[in-house]
Symmetry: C2
Subunit: 248 residues, 2 copies
């Protein structure tokens, strides 16, 4: 039976409560100061692959949208990541974090050493948005509903626990605190407007679950590779390599 707008929104929010990656043990470790510097670096390297995929995902979405107003509303996401005017963009801010943890930013940007499972998950997300209905594509972006809380926790936890953390190195997360709510308000409204049958509501909910899988699988891969007992797969970044000297 088709759910009311309020019921359906509650169903989407429950998916976050059940499956969002703020519940993954890697994030507890990271935010509580339990990660070694190399474990933080491994996270920075692998999460970069996700950052690099997001504008491609958004462009794949826009390539399928025939309504100029929807394309315009979506375009700011690409600008947020790739930069626009005075805004250097989220990818550049992520590389600043790479600098701060002592990694060679050219190595990070090359995406060498990224775990294959990270690539498989992120690439699956880009293709999902390219291949599925527009409704499913927008619904898969709604993990941003749950992001501000994890970003706020992360900023607080990293500042309290790691020397590299300061306003400059964490600028990516600070910026997302204002960007994500704007994007997700639009996306949520669009999904609630367009999921007007049970079939569409089920498809939108499944798309949001898929996206939580994409995020969770990345942390599973990171935990498996770099948290003891660590099992780095062939080709994965080896701790201690591709470093730069960090200014004291």
């Amino acid at each position: 039976m088709t759910q009311s707008r309020a019921e359906f929104e509650a169903r989407l929010r429950q998916i976050g409560a059940d499956r969002y990656h703020d519940k993954h043990p890697f994030h507890d470790l990271l935010h509580s100061g339990g990660c070694t510097p190399d474990q933080v670096r491994a996270w920075v390297i692998n999460r970069y692959y996700y950052q690099h995929a997001i504008p491609m995902k958004d462009a794949a979405f826009m390539s399928r949208v025939e309504d100029p107003a929807l394309r315009r509303a979506w375009r700011s996401r690409i600008e947020d990541h790739d930069g626009h005017g005075e805004n250097e963009g989220g990818i550049e801010r992520w590389l600043r974090l790479a600098d701060a943890v002592g990694l060679d930013r050219h190595y990070v940007a090359s995406r060498q050493g990224v775990l294959p499972a990270t690539k498989f998950a992120c690439d699956a997300y880009v293709r999902f948005v390219r291949d599925k209905t527009l409704l499913e594509a927008v619904a898969s972006s709604l993990t941003e509903l749950f992001a501000p809380k994890i970003h706020a926790n992360r900023i607080e936890g990293l500042l309290a626990n790691y020397d590299f953390a300061d306003d400059r190195s964490l600028s990516y997360f600070k910026r997302r605190l204002s960007e994500a709510p704007k994007d997700v308000a639009f996306g949520l409204g669009w999904v609630l407007d367009h999921a007007d049958t049970q079939e569409k509501q089920d498809a939108a909910a499944a798309a949001l679950e898929f996206k939580t899988d994409v995020l969770w699988a990345q942390l599973d891969a990171l935990h498996s590779a770099y948290i003891a007992p660590a099992r780095i797969p062939p080709g994965g970044w080896q701790p201690g390599t591709h470093m730069i000297a960090v200014a004291a």
Copy 2:
């Protein structure tokens, strides 16, 4: 510089020596009897997803081949998995293994409970074969060069260490001992014939590395989810569920 046929074959074989999943610790556990029954079941459930993807991968390849002779040579792979005449096929033989370890075969065939990372890896393989050059697609199948040894070890190790193991439950692996060498002799010859420049040799080697990543990532996901300290992701199969009574 373009390598000689013999040098290039040695390079491909070295990729197996360096990166094939016979070196993953999960296989040591499995073959030595170190897996609990539930860990064996988790492997059976997740590996089924790979089995189910293989004929789709082969069909995607054939859909792009214009040479009837190459299509004919390839078609037997689909028959080997889906069945043909008297041959029930590899997928049915895999479900017999599911029966033997006490799993509900309908659950296994439904692919519910498969780890998202397993799906991401296997789906990446299907799309690789659909999107890349024919040479890269054939080269990615050459992990079969390294399969007979792991299958022989597996049959010996499972028979020695687990009550469920017998000729009937292990018929999938016994059959592959004769099927895989036939397929790979053809595939290897085709790759050696067609990789006639350095660029093509590099692409073929990278494709084989990609495929070793696909296999390795599946075992990493399995190890992460089901070997202590186990972290089963949301939606993954929960030990003890979807069982049948096994005849003594």
